[in-house]
Amino acid sequence: MNLDALLLQVIAGLATGGIYASLALALVMIYQATHLVNFAQGEMAMFATYIAWALINAGMGYWPAFLLTVGIAFVLGVLIERIIIRPVENAPVLAVVVVFIGLLVILNSLAGWIFTYTIKSFPSPFPTEPLFGIRAMSPHRLGAIGVTLVVLALLYAFFRFTPLGLAMRAAAQNPESSRLVGIRVGWMLALGWGLAAAIGAVAGMMVAPIVYLDPNMMGGVLLYAFAAALVGGIDSPGGAVLGGLLVGVLENVLGAFVIGNELKLVVALVLIVGVLLVKPSGLFGRVHVSRV
């Protein structure tokens, strides 16, 4: 193995990592608000990507379709929370997990039913010529990292500097006190779902040009995103992004030089189990201590 080849794999890893990072970010959003991991996050992203595909096929330009899809995904996320998640708000964790899995199956089948299972290509907004003639530096992959960083910056600004962002943080950590200052806690949760769905839609549209569009396209990506969120700390947005990049690099480097491309997914599973065993709070997560 020479250093150049390693460098290429690292760059390619950072690029795919950007996509894992955005989906991990969506997982963290819902985890922060509800302390649950949304197993349907990947399928929500996939469904949104189909919407973008339909809009582009109907003749809309890429960026208008992109923005409209993010908006539609936001509304769908809010509706899913209000209609499907709200009724099981106080149900035991396992019941909610089953609802998430049901949602996953429904969205998957719905996409197959409406758009068929035929694999479709999805356009990239970035040029197709490799940068500097290096294949790993595809403009699309670099663009995906850029988009992820922009999303992260927007989210940071929203939560840090706007009253609504502050209210959402407050509602997530102390619902009772939040009601006492007049925050509509239920709506804050719905808003969290909307944001997560919107971020997921971005991830879906970024990954679709690489893996092609089909109803099962997010299965693998979601596993990597779980690993990313866990590595970074499931309640830390910044950690999720760093975790995403780290998982992307590990996956590529190990896949290329150690275990071979066929076993790449194992990296994600080993990371998930490893983090849970050794450091469940991840790199940047809060350690939860409770008195019993």
């Binding site: 502050l166 006190s177 009601r179 006492l180 200052v181 007049g182 925050i183």
Partner: protein, 235 residues
């Protein structure tokens, strides 16, 4: 009457805690509610804010508020300093205060009020960027009162504001409450274990035992009542 309560019942699941209490609170007054542990004082405050299941009638500024959502009652101008202080532990002191003014749209006045509560409690200003969970108990109590004031409430519900505070700090806090009441005309309903100080501050008082009002009247008269003196004032 700013607040009128008739036949208020409240229960936690199957356990009934309030058995039809009646009381009222005059605009601009400080009214205190005394009683032993478990008498239903905290529950009464929680019932007024729609935080427990209730039956009966609650009127605030003439409007029925029983059965309404907590956040709607708060928006009418009822601020609650809850039992246990309700600190947003992971947010900074100043973020806690800003949340108190969450429902207000008058941004400039909110900034003024921020300076005003910092004037009352300079310690909070020193710690404005500190994570609120790391404040001392006394500072968190000041923060809870300040957060409630940031709403510019018409009515302030105070659940044992003296709890866990050093005697000197309690005196300071009560002096500030009196100032706020006199200068800003904020009405207050005060639940207290420290009956002597509560009766000193309040103009009206109610005594609650096992979910019922057993005695009510002017604070000065209640203070002279023999049974209250023996049971709650300790002399």
């Amino acid at each position: 009457m700013l607040l009128e309560v008739k036949g208020l019942h409240a229960s936690y699941g199957a356990t009934r805690v309030l058995h039809g209490i009646d009381f009222g609170l005059e605009q601009g007054s400080i009214t205190t509610m005394l009683g032993a542990n478990g008498a239903g004082k905290t529950t009464t405050l929680r019932a007024l804010c729609g935080m427990v299941k209730t039956a009966g009638e609650v009127r605030f500024a003439g409007k029925r508020v029983d059965g309404r959502a907590t956040e709607d009652i708060v928006r009418l101008g009822v601020a609650h300093v809850p039992d246990g202080r309700g600190t947003f532990a992971n947010l900074s002191t100043e973020e806690n205060l800003r949340l108190g003014a969450y429902t207000r749209k008058d941004k400039a006045a909110v900034l003024e009020d921020l300076e005003r509560v910092y004037g009352y409690f300079p310690r909070l200003k020193e710690r404005r960027h500190q994570q609120a969970g790391t404040l001392s108990g006394g500072e968190q109590q000041m923060l809870a009162v300040s957060r409630a004031l940031m709403l510019r409430p018409k009515l302030l519900l105070l659940d044992e504001p003296s709890f866990g505070l050093a005697p000197l700090v309690v005196q300071e806090l009560f002096a500030i409450l009196r100032t706020i009441n006199e200068k800003e005309g904020v009405s207050m309903l005060l639940v207290e274990q420290n009956a002597a100080m509560a009766l000193e501050l309040a103009s009206e008082a109610y005594l609650i035992e096992t979910g019922r009002v057993v005695l009510s009247g002017a604070a000065a008269d209640i203070k002279r009542d023999d049974s209250v003196r023996r049971a709650y004032l300790g002399y």
